[in-house]
């Protein structure tokens, strides 16, 4: 083994304003790590991510002629890219940077034992330094992107996304599982806030979609397979004739929407004659906009029960603690529509809280002025819905009457059902995008990256991400379009270079890595007359499943080479004084 020339590594230790330094003795860690070979500069900062701390570090890289940087702070999820960029500003290759997490893994995890938290921090920092000492500069791989997008779901969000992408000159494959496009909105009649006809909205969009040369609409079609990666996905879809079509797209927009909560039999009278859900009432009104009839009988009074299926515990895999956002406004709006048909129809709204937020507040007020009466019930005392000789009886303790029980005998009971995620997990399974505790697709960051998923190049739009009203769905769909377009219009994408590579001199082509790789990234090539494996860096995601299965130790992941990992383990088990 040849002696490597010593490295010049700088270590910055963050106190995170006490988040770290209240439990980890940052000065002690600094003093200890400064004794480490290869470490030529150390510093402690109140906030390593602050502009001033970063600038000092950039200065330090230059003045001390550093060739490797370690920052000991928070999770790399938060600031890996921040400090890579800092390292680059100092004139180094960004992959000469290592992040050590002494907040989530030390100070936050071991608040009960400060000396142990400090000792663990020191061990982790030593491992980080050891890894950096063996780091090599890596270059990101630039690959071309395909200016085509697969949009899944032709509801309001998907249709709108397809048109917006087409406007930008990007070709769209729009697939819809149902035999007709339009989703929920097509069946819902007049929709708030501007009282437009849902069918009309959808028809206009579908007509426009069909007129576009760069949009192909596939009905009755489902996604079955996906491979490849950002910029170049290979997907397979199955048409109603069971034909499989292969498509090559640069990005995928998931706009699969939601399902309406289906009440359990007997829940608030569900199953009794005259008890319907909000979408059923909407469809009833859409089919007969002039008269309100249910099963041939004129409806003279209605009781609405709000928050059915929303804002409750639900199950472990489907936490329904969320508010479904659209139902209060939709029901207030429907009340104004019914008052418009016949002001004599009495409407009683049994609610927990009214959330006609923002501009929709005016709809609630219109409903009030139209004669709707709102009765507030507590979560602990939900209304009861029963039937006496075919007459519906609704009992509720009205909080606005100090809990006095009010008995209604309406012709129709409307359960204002919220949104739940789609049961069908096929899209999530094929695309490998995560699902949140509520069962909806999970975004990377709720505030800052609301339409991106952990799968680069796959975006979520509309109510597939969580309950949204129509306008909000379209807004989110436009956000997904802008993310997809920003990616594709640039024409290329720079991929993370931390991918696997094979040493062809060691490889004996045993096939083990091929079987271990879930991304089909291993190719069989010729190397001086013998067959060896080669990793397609474009397909590889650097997850390393191939590394431990190789009997010859011929495979390693760049940035996490076998030597680096071994040196990290050695550093971790080193004595701590």
């Amino acid at each position: 083994m040849t002696e490597e020339p010593p490295r010049r590594i700088g270590v910055m230790i963050c106190q995170c304003g006490g988040n770290i330094s209240d439990y980890v003795d940052t000065e002690k860690v600094r003093a200890e790590v400064a004794k480490q070979g290869d470490v030529v500069a150390t510093r402690v900062e109140m906030f390593a991510c602050s502009d001033s701390a970063q600038e000092s570090m950039v200065q330090m890289i230059r003045e001390k002629k550093l060739d490797g940087v370690v920052v000991c702070s928070c999770s790399p999820k938060l600031h890996l890219s921040t400090f890579r960029a800092m390292t680059q500003r100092g004139g180094l290759n960004p992959y000469e940077y290592t992040q050590v997490n002494i907040r989530e893994q030390c100070s936050w995890a071991h608040t009960h034992d400060k000396p142990a938290a400090t000792e663990k921090a020191l061990r982790l920092v030593r491992a980080g330094v050891a890894k950096t000492a063996l780091s090599t500069p890596l270059e990101r791989m630039r690959v071309e992107t395909i200016p085509q997008v697969l949009v899944i779901g032709a509801g309001i969000a998907g249709l709108r996304a397809a048109l917006a992408l087409s406007d930008l000159g990007i070709s769209v494959h729009l697939i819809e599982k149902a035999p007709e496009p339009g989703g929920h909105v097509a069946r819902w009649g007049r929709v708030f806030p501007n009282d437009k006809d849902g069918r009309g909205l959808i028809d206009t969009l579908v007509r426009e979609v069909r007129a576009r040369e760069n949009i192909v609409l596939y009905l009755g079609t489902e996604l079955t397979e996906m491979s490849g990666r950002i910029g170049s996905f290979r997907v397979k879809v199955r048409t109603p004739t069971a034909e499989t079509i292969s498509l090559n797209v640069g990005s995928i927009v998931v706009a699969t929407g939601f399902e309406t909560y289906a009440p359990k039999p007997g829940e608030l009278g569900f199953g009794l004659e005259g008890v319907v859900t909000l979408p059923e009432l909407k469809e009833l009104l859409a089919t007969n906009p002039s008269r309100l009839e249910y099963h041939g009988k004129a409806v003279r009074s209605i009781a609405y029960v709000y928050c059915v299926g929303s804002r409750e515990e639900g199950s472990e895999t489907n936490l329904r603690t969320y508010c479904s956002r659209y139902c209060c406004s939709a029901t207030s709006h429907i009340a104004t529509v019914i008052t418009g048909m016949d002001p004599g129809i009495r409407q009683f709204h049994l609610f927990r809280d009214i959330r006609t937020y923002g501009k929709y507040e005016a709809i609630y007020e219109r409903a009030l002025r139209g004669g709707s009466v709102f009765l507030r019930f507590g979560e602990e005392a939900p209304p009861s819905v029963t039937s006496e000789n075919g007459q519906l009886v609704v009992k509720v303790k009205d909080r606005l009457m100090a809990g006095e029980e009010v008995e209604l005998r309406p012709d129709l009971v409307v359960l204002v059902t919220g949104m739940v995620p789609r049961e069908d997990g096929e899209v999530a399974r094929v695309l490998k995008i995560p699902i949140g505790k509520d069962g909806f697709f999970h975004e990377i960051h709720v505030k800052l990256r609301p339409v991106e998923t952990v799968v680069d190049g796959v975006f979520i739009a509309g109510a597939a991400q969580g309950p949204k009203n129509l306008a909000e769905s379209v807004t989110s769909s436009m956000a997904a379009v802008s993310k997809a377009a920003a990616l594709l219009l640039k024409g290329y994408v720079d991929l993370d270079p931390m991918v696997a590579e094979v040493n062809p001199d060691l490889c004996a082509w045993c096939d083990a890595c091929t079987l271990a790789c879930p991304y089909g990234a291993v190719e069989k090539v010729d190397h001086g007359g013998t067959a060896v494996a080669r990793i397609n860096g474009i397909l590889c995601k650097g997850e390393g499943a191939c590394v431990p299965v190789c009997p010859k130790q011929a495979v390693s992941v760049k940035g996490y080479t076998n030597d680096q990992v071994r040196s990290m383990i050695d550093a971790l088990v080193q004595e701590v004084a």
């Binding site: 003279r300 004599g344 002025r369 709707s372 009765l375 009205d398 606005l400 009457m401 008995e407 209604l408």
Partner: protein
């Protein structure tokens, strides 16, 4: 109490009645110089929901109102409280005392 959905329509035959925007704040009650027993907000809610018995029980209160406008002038929701009380009196005159229209 059982709701009579047609009660409001009958009350309105006696004049204008509108308390739809009442938000149950209670300013009316706090300001009433007579300190009437029943909250106007509660009385109006009986009307809106449709509870003829509860309204009839409050006949005394409805007729002891001074119509001084103290509550109405200060109602944050702008409910025409005194007009509503007048309408209720007309209603009671008809339904309970069977007085013919003048």
């Amino acid at each position: 109490m059982r709701v009579d959905p047609q009660f409001l329509t009958r009350v309105r035959q006696g004049g204008e009645f509108d308390a739809s925007v009442c938000m149950n704040c209670g300013v009316c009650t706090a300001l009433c110089p007579l300190g009437v027993e029943l909250l106007p907000r509660r009385l109006f809610r009986y009307v809106l929901l449709g509870n003829p018995d509860a309204v009839r029980e409050q006949t005394e209160t409805i007729f002891s109102c001074l119509l001084c406008h103290m509550c109405e002038s200060n109602c944050p929701a702008g409910v025409h409280i005194t007009e509503n009380v007048r309408t209720l009196r007309t209603h009671l005159n008809r339904e309970q005392y069977h007085l013919a229209e003048a």
